[in-house]
Symmetry: C3
Subunit: 147 residues, 3 copies
């Protein structure tokens, strides 16, 4: 695992749930994380991708969610070095009508994960368009395997 | 686990699949449940949330699905006391254009689960907007851990 | 398990990911597969179901994705006879406004799986409408249990 410091990343605290659920649940060797919406300056990063938000911005938003997911994962397992591999990401993109590049937005998250955990720890991924809570531009959830 | 009787809830029979799949599958200590759509008086509870269906109605629909999920889960494991914890809910809301409160609708389901199983058994959750089968207002699927 | 030959099916090679992720990840006895979009003649099978694509075509597209998923699953486990059961399918349908028969489209995939693996190996399923990458008409991901 690559040092987050070396990548200029400061691990945020776990994202607090905004309802009757948890941010992370461990079952066996799997840790499930709740859907995390994109935030900018601490508030929802809102807008439809391909309209108010460009694809480039959405890709940056996906990367920022990946960092938030790491914060929540760290809070759940105590040490990111215990993460054996990422298992699955679901990447939801708030696409304007006609948007069709959800997979490119998703690379914003998985590119960062590969840089940190290496290609051998890469997850599977499903990405598509959906209407999102608080009109967030991107939402991502994650399953990871821990040792 | 709190008694369903005390909450005035009668456990329904497992929801019958309407196609070539099962309502529940156990693998190891996990039980996966199929997406359950909202029903009212035995027929699909149809309409877009924020248009034909209010947010309050959708929240009640989410609660009613939670009860249907318990019926299916009971059928799969024989006794709800075997449920160690809820792992993950995916809550799909048939939002009218501009709807952005999927997370509040989702509380209709997870609030009930917390009341029944306690906060320590709470799941992670991902909620968003989607076009739903039979124009149902809400659809939810679930992963639970059993002992 | 029924022979693919007997069904006139030739197993395709694993679907290559188009980004920083894997087609399949094994964790414990579960194999997670990435979302696979429908393809026709090697290119994305594009269009909204209920508009440019009929429900019948979409059902055929779902069946063709099921075959692609088998190719990826075969690549991951070496031999489909190691598949103990299917656990979960998520079926995403690129529905035109007003489309409400996602569950019938999904049968295109699960009918084939039942024919191959038998009813006792059937998965749970969640199907709904979503905007899809490359405007594909259908996208499906899968979790299977292997021995």
């Amino acid at each position: 695992m690559k040092s987050l410091d070396a990548l200029g990343i400061t691990l945020p605290p776990p994202t607090a749930p905004v309802g009757s659920y948890l941010g992370a649940v461990r079952t066996g060797q799997l840790v499930f994380l709740s859907g995390h919406i994109a935030k900018k300056d601490g508030v929802p990063w809102a807008g439809r991708v391909g309209a108010e938000i460009s694809r480039e911005e959405a890709t940056a938003a996906a990367r920022s969610i990946a960092i938030d997911l790491l914060g929540t994962l760290h809070g759940a397992v105590g040490d990111l070095a215990r993460v054996r591999r990422l298992v699955k990401l679901t990447v939801l993109v708030n696409g304007a009508p006609g948007f069709a590049e959800h997979h490119l937005v998703a690379n914003g998250a998985t590119d960062l994960f590969l840089e940190i955990f290496g290609a051998e720890a890469a997850p599977v991924r499903t990405s598509y368009g959906a209407q999102l809570p608080l009109n967030a531009c991107v939402e991502i959830d994650l399953i990871a395997e821990v040792g």
